[in-house]
């Protein structure tokens, strides 16, 4: 059970969060079919760090990108995304 530092709420238990997908599988709605399906249907699956989209679903509901190690579960970075993060 991780502790995830929500950029908005601070450290919270993992049970409040949901994993969405890796950042490289976020499908650009404007992408052509092949690119879109490649992004949607394949993953790198590194045995190391990967960037992942998570959401503080049962907390502030904001979205963020975690850089997380797939073997040690260490979270090395958390970055807010969404409209507020653009500013």
């Amino acid at each position: 059970m991780y502790q995830i530092a929500c950029p908005h709420c601070g450290p919270r238990a993992q049970t409040e969060f949901t994993y969405e997908r890796t950042t490289d599988s976020v499908v650009d709605p404007a992408a052509d079919a092949h690119t879109a399906m490649h992004a949607l249907y394949t993953r790198a699956n590194p045995m190391g760090l990967d960037d992942e989209v998570w959401r503080h679903t049962y907390g502030c509901r904001a979205w963020m990108v975690l850089t997380r190690h797939r073997v040690t579960h260490e979270i090395t970075a958390v970055k807010a995304i969404g409209p507020e993060a653009l500013a």
Binding site: V26, P29, A36, L40, H73, P83
Partner: protein, 926 residues
């Protein structure tokens, strides 16, 4: 039958109060603070249980949670706890204990004949026999299952509750021995928030066995508490997870006891800043022939019984050791008045022994014998020769195993301590350290076993002997994990706490390598077994699933509807009157809607308010239909695709104002839709200037449908209702409402959305007016009849997660400009293959159509489709259905069979358009 009482009372009588309890029906007396094991030993009960495989008689071997032998069932009814360790159960008044895995009695157990067959039943014997088809195995298996399994599970529901709570601290100390107490007190004094947990009922750990006048555990605990620390006794840190998260299980009442406040145990979820593991050592047994005999005990356990509980487990004692610690046991026994017949030290030299104790060096026990489950004699190999000793107890110490379970669960490594022949905690990736004896086990050089391998037990409960380990090796099961799995070593309720290291050394010996080279098994949670009810918590009563109540729940309840679960929601399914059943009520309600008017609760619909200059742009991403061209005050049907191009939800979208839209979606998909829209907005298009608010529970929704609905609504709002697919704000029963002229039933109809807190007034007003006009409320079942007849698809039915817009006949509504989510996925060839399942209607030529049934052309054929929803015509007779059929769009007119072999039902049907009722939509128009 009472247990075999083999020895006289072993405890001096004092004036102290006693506690009565029963063991296999016989009443015994214990002193406060006794474990069941201590009390049984004090009462001279040596035989306590039977082993798993050979049903060998077993006594008490340890004084702690590592006990493999002395397992009992305690308590009665739904509170009974099978497989409870007698060493980890504190006696309470009226405690009822039963022995296990024996028939007809503990002393005389018929299944002990398995022991005779032992030479044929070595490790993994069952892999080599009982061949034949699987059916035959079923029969052997039933027999094997009955023989195995130890205690009986209760058959009644658990009367007690289990609580779960969260804890946070700077420092969590596990273990209240001298090291743990000191660490906890120091941390508390330094101002840290401290939690100290101890599985025993009293603090002190090894101090309870080896008191130190300089340390007063009770006083230290008081001091820690005074500094704000939390001290939890009878609490086991059973799991150590990621990011310094630990689970603790706390006993609020002893197993089988009636808990004082209704809660038997408490589960703690603790996030700790730092974890200190002061978990101590577990003693290793010594392998020799019949080393599982009652009367063979661990040396430290013997010392504990003598010092902590004032019980002498034997009068004539042999001690067998490979280390100095057992000399303290000799000392304790002598002080307590027992005779130490011999101290067998496997080493060439050792410390000074207590006066009067004869020490034999280079001496190892080779076998024991007994009579009537009591130990009689110990034979030892001393130097090169054998010697026998009369004894009723042998206290053994094969060295010590640091308790590194939590350390390993935390991802820590172990390092090998050659002197102690033990793995000690090494590096750890978490903020955690091990202190105390677990880090510094006493020296205990390896000593080769002296007895016959066949009955030299390693895993006592599962009857795994040295010979089994040897056989596994011989057959090529050479990695530790193969060995464990092949022999079942370490798989018993003691989780291998006393067997692991003995087995590893045997393996290393076989391989001719050092123990660390031979390998190591990993420890996974839990440290000791944890009650399922505790892990379930309150969820044991409700499957962990909350109930979502609609705003008008009570109002419906007053009409005694049939409720229908839908996800976590409950919705009225029908409102039967005059003893109607579901079918009759639904038909009547549907007929009322078709002929007059009806009202229904649609509060659970997904609802999203999207506003801002880019609201339409966002909606055109989420919805696969056009949205932007919608005029203010108008709405339309829409559907949404997943990124893979399949339809995953549908609903309606309404333009409430220039830059403000309302999107509705299905009940079942509402949570998913909320997440999806949020993902799209935040992850894909954070640049859009718009906001999305989930108003699903903000608004209650009431559908008013039927030819009379327009008149009823006009009268209630004092305004002409919007025409079909129009929107208008209004006031009804003094409450502002949104009126959406949407129809699901195929009749002229409205959805009236109102703030949930005011919904009751609005419902009452509409209901009264509807009833006055001859209408009635209708539930989900009628709604289903109505929509099937109309040919409207439903999420979870025709929208089954595997259909495309084209399959459902919605292709024409797709936004030609593309750009919506799923547009790319939809271009894949398989999504437009002609053989796809398409939505069709079915009209029965004969008999009702079984819902879910398969569509075939003739018997024996693989299905070509299935019935997604079946109904009967509402005003006319006849059965109809919606179905998904291979290439169905082109098969209208064909005759097929619907078959349901599981229900023995069949119908002949003709394929039609799915729109049975008013296909031109004329009834929407005023």
């Amino acid at each position: 039958m009472s247990a075999d009482k083999t020895r006289g009372p072993t405890r001096a009588k004092t004036g102290e109060e006693t506690i009565a309890f029963t063991f296999d029906g016989t009443t015994y007396h214990a002193r406060p603070g006794d474990t069941l094991a201590a009390a049984l030993l004090a009462n001279g009960v040596g035989l306590v249980g039977r082993s798993f495989k050979y049903h060998r008689p077993r006594g008490i071997m340890t004084a702690g949670i590592e006990e493999p032998n002395a397992l009992v069932t305690v308590g009665k009814g739904g509170r009974a706890e099978p497989n409870t360790r007698a060493t980890d159960l504190f006696v309470y008044p009226g405690m009822m204990v039963q022995s296990q895995n024996r028939w007809p009695s503990l002393a005389f157990d018929v299944a002990a004949i398995f022991g005779l067959a032992a030479p044929a039943l070595g490790a993994g014997f069952y892999y080599k026999t009982f061949f034949g088809p699987a059916k035959h195995w079923l029969r052997y298996e039933a027999f094997i299952r009955r023989a195995a399994g130890l205690g009986n599970a209760p058959t009644e529901p658990d009367p007690d509750n289990f609580s779960q709570t969260a804890g946070f601290c700077d420092v969590l100390v596990v273990g209240s021995g001298p090291a743990g107490l000191k660490a906890a007190l120091e941390a508390a004094e330094a101002g840290s928030r401290v939690m100290l947990v101890e599985q025993d009922a009293v603090p002190g750990g090894s101090l309870l066995r080896d008191p130190d006048p300089a340390i007063d555990p009770a006083a230290m605990v008081e001091r820690i508490k005074a500094l704000g620390g939390k001290v939890l006794l009878r609490t086991t840190a059973s799991g150590y997870w990621d990011h310094n998260f630990l689970t603790l299980s706390q006993r609020l009442a002893e197993p089988g006891a009636v808990p004082p406040h209704g809660f038997a145990q408490r589960l703690w979820h603790v996030r700790a800043g730092r974890v200190v593991l002061a978990t101590g050592l577990i003693e290793r047994p010594v392998p020799f022939a019949n080393n599982d005999h009652p009367g063979v005990m661990l040396s430290q356990a013997v010392r504990s019984y003598v010092r902590r509980w004032g019980v002498l487990p034997g009068q004539r004692v042999v001690i067998a050791t490979n280390n100095d610690d057992a000399y303290l046991t000799a000392q304790a026994l002598v002080e307590a008045g027992a005779e130490v017949v011999a101290l067998l030290d496997a080493r060439a030299s050792g410390p000074a022994a207590p006066a009067g104790v004869t020490v034999y060096h280079d001496a190892r026990p080779s076998s024991v014998t007994g009579r009537k489950h009591a130990l009689r004699n110990v034979t030892a190999v001393i130097g090169g020769s054998e010697q026998s000793f009369d004894a009723d107890l042998i206290a053994v110490s094969g060295g010590f195993v640091p308790v590194s379970h939590l350390h390993m669960q935390a991802g820590g490594k172990l390092t090998w301590n050659e002197e102690a022949q033990a793995f000690v905690p090494g590096e750890t990736p978490q903020v955690c350290e091990t202190i105390g004896s677990a880090l510094h086990p006493p020296a205990a050089p390896a000593a080769a076993p002296a007895g016959k391998a066949k009955t030299s037990f390693v895993d006592f409960q599962n009857d795994v002997s040295l010979a089994d380990i040897d056989l596994a090796w011989q057959e090529g099961y050479r990695s530790v994990e193969h060995l464990k799995r092949y022999t079942t070593l370490g798989m018993a309720t003691d989780q291998g706490k006393t067997s692991n290291m003995t087995a590893l050394s045997r393996l290393a010996e076989k391989q001719g390598v050092t123990v660390p080279q031979a390998g190591l098994t990993t420890f996974r949670p839990p440290y000791t077994p944890v009650t399922m009810g505790l892990l379930a918590g309150a969820g044991a009563r409700n499957a962990g699933a909350h109930v979502r109540r609609i705003p008008l729940h009570d109002l419906h309840e007053a009409q005694e509807p049939i409720w229908q679960p839908l996800g976590y929601w409950f919705r009225p399914r029908a409102y039967p009157v005059d003893g109607e059943g579901l079918v009759a009520a639904a038909l009547r309600e549907a007929q009322t809607v078709r002929t007059v008017a009806g009202l229904s609760d649609v509060s659970t619909l997904g609802k999203f308010e999207v506003s801002g200059p880019d609201a339409a742009a966002l909606l055109e991403l989420v919805c696969a239909t056009t949205v932007g061209k919608l005029a203010v005050g108008r709405g339309r049907y829409t559907f949404m695709l997943r990124e893979d191009g399949f339809v995953f939800d549908d609903g309606t979208v309404w333009r409430l104002a220039e830059n403000r839209y309302l999107l509705t979606s299905s009940t079942g998909g509402a949570d998913r839709m909320a997440h999806h829209i949020s993902y799209v907005r935040n992850s894909l298009r954070p640049d859009l200037k718009c906001s999305v608010v989930n108003v699903q529970e903000h608004y209650a929704g009431i559908a008013l449908a039927g030819p009379g609905s327009r008149r009823i609504l006009a009268a209630l709002t004092g305004a002409e209702p919007p025409r079909h697919m129009g929107y208008a704000p209004g006031v009804l029963a003094g409450t502002p409402v949104h009126v959406l002229a949407a129809s699901y039933s195929g009749e002229r109809a409205f959805e009236i959305h109102v703030e949930a807190t005011h919904a009751a007034e609005v419902w009452r007003a509409i209901e009264a007016a509807t009833r006055a006009a001859g209408g009635a409320p209708y539930g989900l079942e009628a709604m289903e009849l109505l929509r099937i007849e109309k040919g409207h698809v439903v999420v979870g039915g025709e929208v089954d997660g595997r259909s495309t817009p084209h399959d459902l006949g919605l292709g024409g509504m797709l936004n030609k400009a593309g750009g919506f989510i799923g547009a790319a996925g939809l271009t894949r060839p398989a999504l437009s293959a002609p053989s796809r399942n398409n939505l069709v209607g079915l009209v029965s030529l004969e008999g009702p159509i079984p819902e879910g049934g398969m569509l075939i052309q003739r018997a024996g054929q693989s299905p070509q489709g299935h019935v997604t929803a079946a109904a009967r015509r509402i005003l006319e007779g006849g059965a109809i259905a919606l179905a998904l059929l291979e290439g169905g769009h082109k098969r209208h007119g064909e005759e097929l069979i619907v078959t349901s072999p599981t229900r023995g039902e069949k119908a002949r049907v003709r394929v039609t358009s799915p729109h049975f009722y008013d296909p031109a939509g004329e009834r929407y128009r005023d």
